[in-house]
């Protein structure tokens, strides 16, 4: 009857396999096929170069506000690669690398950031990026519910930031996932910052992973800059979702090395030293050390990959410029397209009005 412990939550595990210096814990090292190792590497490097190129384009005024992912490549690449095609991918707004893996092209992304709705192309079983922080988590839950109801072998992986965990939406989604035993994996990109708010002031819990305890399922914290640890944790979670229909929360401890978006000035709220410290933990050099040590790739290979990606991006931008010219030449009443499946009469009327004005103004105004 008296004072006693009735529930001992499992301890929160931390997983790290490949450390900052490129040293690997042999006991934990996963057996990843060479081709996959190369795929992880290429996607991470692609993301980094794409980020750089996109920042340039933004600075040149070719595209609008952009959210770089620099530093978070491992956390999103090694996790999303664990999905099969039929699985569902639900991004937040900072998973460009994962989106590209799932089928977006640089052109799609650039068109989006250049302010065209045409940039929202949706590969099957993917969602487009989600602007309202955290609100995508519930969509993942609904998707997973439908998969389970229809007895389809589909896992849903949803990404969100550390900041997102403060939103009610995150909580409600986690709770639903637990209650309905859904095959969903929550991947938290804990990049230490939500714009100017540091992780410690986002929540008083020591880890984000332990939040899973509130919902009756498992959570794990991993070194998010270690592709091997992310790979292992995501693999386990996807497998648990697939075979036991149980959710998992994975906290990837990583860092946003760049600005929040190009509209942000991080100097206002964080120190250069902190950034420098985290640059040492950059996932790409670390992984390249590993690949070299393992004899999977050489410096020459790395250079070749970079060269190839640069070329690809060059061509892609040229093509994108062409598409943008075409879009700019499109009659602007496309803004009226596809708002509904069945267009309400007043909207049809508004479009007709728009077109009348457009004609009268010789296409310059409406």
């Amino acid at each position: 009857m008296p004072r006693r412990i009735i529930e001992r939550p499992r301890g929160i595990e931390y997983l790290s396999i490949l450390d900052e210096k490129g040293r690997v814990d042999k006991k934990l090292e996963p057996d990843i096929p060479e081709e996959t190792l190369k795929a992880i590497h290429r996607l991470m490097v692609f993301a980094r170069l794409f980020d750089e190129r996109t920042l340039q384009l933004q600075r040149q005024g070719r595209i609008g506000t952009f959210a770089p992912i620099k530093g978070q490549e491992a956390a999103q690449v090694a996790s999303v690669l664990r999905l099969r095609e039929q699985d569902w991918f639900v991004p937040s707004f900072r998973e460009t690398a994962a989106q590209i893996h799932r089928g977006l092209t640089p052109q799609d992304v650039w068109l989006f950031y250049a302010g065209y709705r045409e940039g929202v192309r949706v590969p099957e079983h993917d969602l487009p990026l989600c602007v309202p922080v955290g609100s995508q988590c519930q969509h993942a839950v609904g998707i997973a519910y439908a998969s389970k109801l229809k007895k389809r072998d589909e896992v849903t992986m949803v990404f969100h930031g550390d900041g997102a965990t403060s939103e009610g939406d995150f909580h409600e989604a986690m709770n639903f996932a637990g209650v309905f035993h859904l095959p969903v994996v929550f991947v938290c990109q804990n990049n230490q910052w939500a714009i100017s708010l540091p992780r410690e002031r986002q929540t008083a819990s020591k880890t984000i992973a332990q939040k899973a305890i509130a919902y009756g399922f498992g959570g794990i914290q991993v070194d998010g800059n270690d592709p091997l640890a992310v790979w292992v944790a995501a693999g386990e979670a996807v497998e648990r979702a697939r075979s036991e229909s149980e959710p998992t929360l994975i906290e990837c401890v990583t860092y946003r090395l760049a600005v929040h978006t190009t509209a942000d000035d991080p100097k206002r709220y964080r120190s250069d030293e902190e950034v420098k410290e985290w640059e040492k933990k950059d996932p790409i050099p670390r992984f390249e050390k590993y690949l070299k040590a393992k004899g999977v790739m050489s410096d020459k290979d790395f250079a070749a990959v970079r060269e190839e990606i640069r070329e690809e991006l060059k061509t892609a931008w040229k093509e994108t410029e062409q598409v943008i010219r075409e879009l700019e030449a499109t009659r602007p009443d496309v803004i009226f397209d596809a708002i509904h499946a069945e267009t309400p009469p007043e909207l049809a009327e508004q479009r007709a009005y728009f077109l009348r004005r457009l004609e009268r103004e010789g296409g310059r105004h409406a």
Binding site: S135, G142, A146, F176, A341
Partner: protein, 325 residues
């Protein structure tokens, strides 16, 4: 088919559509075993099982957000908000996602969904159980707003809403859930979304209403008829998009109009109807359009709620005033 109540019309449509299409699912608080606190979903869990008639945890945004994901993955979800006054917790999911997914993805991800919620005053309920804020949804691009006023229409419009490719907010007039019965056809009946109906013909004034205000407006029309005033009465049925054609055709004939709703007056639905008449047939109006509405306040605590709701007397008086001008 025996005569049924409005809430039974809702229940019937749900049963029919769930039987017709195995992708239709119902979700919300107490919709399963309990059959919904108004019994709108009664009998569904027995017939279709707990996987398709889903009792959810107590979280409106969770319910709507989950419905968004379901719609993305092939289902046609029918989430219930227990009272419209509690739907605001899910406002962001409705505005940011339900209303926008078709638009955002240029139709790649459609959002078929019917969000059901009882609305309106007159049932002697607690605070926040009597709201009428259809204007919020009507002002939100991407949504359609449907409000039935009779058992037959509830059944036929809900069927139509479930078949409709766009998200529909289905606002149910709880004050008349059980107020009267109506015969419905044995065959499934569907009514077109976006169409209003002239439910009583007249030539002196057009009275426009919907939902729980319909019986009151019809009562006012009868009162006026006793004095030889022939009021035409339109049941909007769909508040957004408005059926301008039907409204304008009528007001053109009568030259006078009056709009009734229980929602607060300012920035309410009547204003839009007045604006449309102003836009389209200003010069054919013989008098200002009257509005008979709730006042600019939350519905009063229930002992005094009837003072807030437009009464037949008040509606009739305003019609008389308009006719004097």
């Amino acid at each position: 088919m025996p005569e049924i109540t409005l809430i039974e019309g809702v229940n019937l449509a749900l049963k029919e559509k769930m039987a017709e299409n195995e992708n239709v699912v119902v979700l919300g608080q107490d919709v399963g075993l309990d059959g919904g606190i108004f019994r709108a979903t009664i009998g569904l869990i027995e017939e279709f099982g707990a996987d398709r008639v889903i009792d959810t945890p107590l979280a409106e945004a969770g319910i709507i957000g989950m419905a968004v994901g379901m719609a993305m993955n092939g289902l046609i979800p029918i989430p219930e908000m227990q009272f419209s006054g509690f739907s605001y917790t899910a406002f962001h999911q409705i505005e940011n996602h339900v209303a926008r997914y078709h638009w955002r993805t240029r139709g790649q991800i459609p959002m078929p969904m019917v969000i059901r919620m009882p609305y309106g005053a007159g049932v002697r309920a607690f605070e926040l159980h009597s709201e009428s804020r259809e204007a919020y949804w009507a002002h939100t691009p991407g949504l359609k707003v449907v409000i039935p006023s009779t058992p037959r229409k509830a059944r036929a419009l809900l069927r139509a809403a479930i078949e409709h490719p766009d998200p529909v907010v289905f606002y149910e007039p709880k004050a008349i859930y059980r107020a009267f019965r109506e015969n419905v056809s044995d065959e499934p009946e569907t009514m077109e979304i976006g169409k209003a109906e002239v439910v009583r013909e007249g030539r002196h004034i057009t009275m426009i209403a919907y939902g729980a205000m319909m019986p009151r407006t019809l009562e006012a029309a009868r009162m006026l008829a006793d004095e030889g005033i022939e009021a035409e009465v339109i049941d909007l049925m769909t508040v957004s998009p408005l059926d301008e054609e039907t409204i304008i055709e009528s007001v053109r004939r009568t030259g006078r109009a009056l709009v009734v709703h229980e929602a607060p007056r300012s920035f309410g639905p009547a204003a839009e109807i007045i604006a449309r008449l102003n836009d389209k047939i200003f010069f054919e109006l013989e008098a200002p359009v009257a509005r008979v509405t709730g006042y600019d306040m939350p519905p009063p605590f229930f002992a005094r709620e009837q003072w807030f709701l437009p009464s037949p007397t008040r509606i009739a008086d305003e019609a008389r005033e308009t006719l004097k001008l």
